[in-house]
């Protein structure tokens, strides 16, 4: 066992123990796991593949709406549920709740993945800023359109089935969603750790470094770009479905297709941690979440001003991220050797 494996196991044990050490912050920590999933999957595009997308929030929103719609629609008429607003006209039995939840989460992963595969050929053919703006448009268009559909509550949004009565209290609910999001995060992390070690990871990096050359060498780049996007869509969709259940209320522009908050957070967290690295998004998301909670608590009302400032400062002054900074400081930890002569001459200069 090398040091990284030990680190992962230790962090995993800490993750399992955390809800019992800080019982008051269970929901907050679950949000952190979701944020890490978003940052890790954004890094497939932005960091490893060199395709800076603003559009991953599309899959998040689709997953969220789909999961909630299935949870309701499997047992009750969806339109009456959304029309009744927050009133509890229909009540889920425990087994109904869990059946609906299971099917909903499954669909929330699979359907965005299929959508990503279908639209991938058109959209991943775009390069550079055209890709960035196109995906930005995609995410916002989805939010606007969801805000116009009556069936899922239009601009008012819809409520997610509440935790069924009769099995445990809110503590159990928080633990249930905590462990689900934790498992999702662990699976995403381990899957990507494995995927980056295979040929797939090398091809993604080849696309980032020089796509035309990779294509000229016989790599079907489009196929791999689509596969990368499908993986992203799958995990982000599940994260969306979980998030919808944790928040309990879905609104098109602020919660589901939140391009201005979560859609930018995932990019910021990755850049803050260091894009193109496995641990960067994890570190970035953790630091960002702690900072954000601080801001949100102490700068109440000014949080979005702080957010705008934070984006500008991180992007302009800190584009390499924490991992980039550590790498520059301790290159030997990354298996990079520094030429002694070179270092001396640079010191003399």
């Amino acid at each position: 066992m090398n040091r990284q494996t030990i680190l992962i196991i230790v962090l995993g044990i800490i993750g399992i123990l955390l809800p019992f050490i800080f019982p008051a912050y269970k929901l907050q920590i679950s949000f952190l796991w979701i944020l890490i999933v978003l940052a890790l999957t954004w890094d497939i595009q932005g960091g490893q593949m060199g395709y800076n997308t603003f559009g991953n929030i599309l899959f998040f929103g689709i997953g969220m709406y789909l999961c909630a719609s299935i949870q309701v629609g499997m047992f009750f008429p969806l339109s009456e549920w959304t029309a009744s607003g927050g009133e509890k006209t229909f009540v889920h039995e425990p087994d109904q709740f869990f059946q609906g939840f299971f099917v909903g989460i499954l669909a929330a992963g699979l359907v965005p993945a299929i959508i990503a595969a279908l639209i991938g050929y058109g959209i991943l053919g775009l390069r550079g800023h055209y890709f960035a703006i196109c995906t930005l448009g995609l995410g916002i268009a989805a939010g606007e359109i969801a805000g116009g559909i009556e069936l899922i509550g239009a601009g008012q949004g819809m409520t997610v089935p509440p935790w069924p009565k009769g099995i445990g209290d809110t503590e159990l609910r928080a633990e249930f969603f905590y462990f689900l999001s934790f498992i999702l995060m662990v699976i995403t992390f381990l899957f990507l750790k494995w995927a980056y070690q295979t040929r797939f990871g090398l091809i993604l990096n080849a696309i980032r470094d020089n796509e035309d050359k990779a294509e000229a060498m016989g790599i079907p780049t489009m196929r791999y770009k689509i596969i990368g996007w499908v993986i992203t869509a799958f995990f982000v969709g599940i994260a969306g479905g979980l998030m919808g259940n944790m928040v309990g209320y879905i609104e098109p522009v602020e919660v589901a297709f939140a391009g201005a908050t979560l859609g930018v957070f995932m990019i910021l967290m990755t850049i803050l941690g260091g894009k193109g690295t496995l641990w960067g998004p994890v570190i970035g998301a953790t630091v960002f979440h702690l900072f954000k909670e601080g801001f949100w608590t102490y700068f109440l009302g000014w949080q979005y001003v702080a957010l705008g400032l934070l984006i500008v400062v991180i992007v302009v002054f800190f584009p390499e991220g924490l991992m980039g900074w550590i790498r520059e400081k301790y290159p030997e930890k990354f298996g990079e050797t520094v030429d002694e002569e070179d270092q001396k001459s640079s010191v003399e200069l």
Binding site: N52, G122, I123, G125, L126, G128, H129, Y130, A132, I133, C134, L136, G137, L138, I140, A141, E144, I145, G147, G148, A154, G155, A260, V264, I267, I271, W302, Y304, V305, L307, G308, L309, L310, I311, V312, V315, V316, F317, P319
Partner: protein, 297 residues
């Protein structure tokens, strides 16, 4: 159905006229974006927020008892210095960097501006009354607010004035030279830093004019900036950089599309239709360009 059969011709005329007048305004904003994109190679996501900020300047004048139409002189003057300051604070650090960095940095500026506008002017939808009256055409069946006519005329006049300035003045020549080749311009003695700052200021001034026109024709709200950015981006990629008749035409085309989308799909889908159109145009463009891929023979 009645509506479709008997009112359709009137609606078509109404929507087209509205669209053309609106489109000229979009074209002005797009011209500012094209200028900046061509010279500095920056896509400014905060373009729409600058427009709305210009609108709020006109609205403030309206609240102080001055006619908001004078905003077309005051707003660009204030916005020029604001743009210049923004360049000196943030933008000059991202000019030569990766395009995504500049997109993200201006995205941050856009969120910041939205929120500051929200604090200063409040989150309500506001409008500056111009009291220009309306013009009735074709036996009173088509109504055109005079403020829309005014805004279209001013947009055209402003665009022509800026084009003449770019052609005749010394700074205009320096800007065009920098757009063609920044390095060569630098060698020949053009202070490109100054040119960049002036370009950013000029773009902000154009946004100021457009914003004060929007204040009297439409409504203002702190969060409606992004659609204006997307519209101008769309117009620029359809028309291409530096193709001025193209900018005007595609602006009008977009205006007509929006009015029709508004009538047919309903107002709640209007912005969604604009963003979907953007995606379609970009994907269409990608397939059209990929046919031209060149191979060595």
């Amino acid at each position: 159905m009645d509506l479709l059969i008997f009112k359709a011709p009137i609606l078509i005329v109404q929507a087209s006229l509205d669209g053309i007048l609106l489109g000229l305004l979009f074209a002005l904003i797009a011209y500012g974006m094209a200028l900046q994109w061509g010279v500095m190679n920056i896509i400014n996501i905060a373009q729409g927020e600058l427009v709305i900020l210009g609108g709020y300047i006109a609205y403030t004048m309206y609240q102080l008892g001055i006619h908001p139409a004078f905003g077309i002189f005051v707003a660009p003057a204030i916005m020029y210095f604001l743009g210049w300051g923004l360049y000196k604070l943030v933008i000059y650090r991202v000019v030569d960097r990766d395009l995504f960095i500049s997109i993200l940095a201006t995205f941050g500026i856009s969120i910041l501006t939205q929120q500051l506008m929200n604090f200063v002017f409040g989150a309500d939808v506001v409008v500056a009354q111009s009291n220009f009256g309306t013009t009735l055409l074709f036996d009173d069946s088509v109504t055109i607010p005079n403020s829309k006519l005014f805004s279209a005329v001013i947009s055209v006049v402003a665009a022509i004035a800026i084009i003449l300035y770019m052609k005749k003045s010394k700074l205009g020549r320096a800007i065009r030279a920098t757009a063609q080749n920044a390095r060569a311009a630098k060698i020949l003695g053009v202070d490109t830093e100054k040119v960049y700052a002036a370009t950013f200021g000029l773009n902000a001034a154009i946004c100021g004019i457009a914003g004060s026109l929007i204040a009297i024709t439409f409504t203002l709200h702190p969060y409606v900036g992004l659609p204006y950015t997307i519209r101008s981006f769309m117009i620029v990629i359809i028309a291409g950089l530096g193709n001025l008749p193209g900018v005007a035409l595609s602006g009008m085309g977009l205006g007509i599309f929006e009015e029709f989308a508004d009538y047919i799909l309903g107002t709640e889908f209007r912005i969604g239709a604009v963003f979907l159109l953007l995606v379609f145009i970009l994907v269409y463009r990608r397939f059209k360009l990929s046919r031209k891929r060149e191979y060595l023979e």
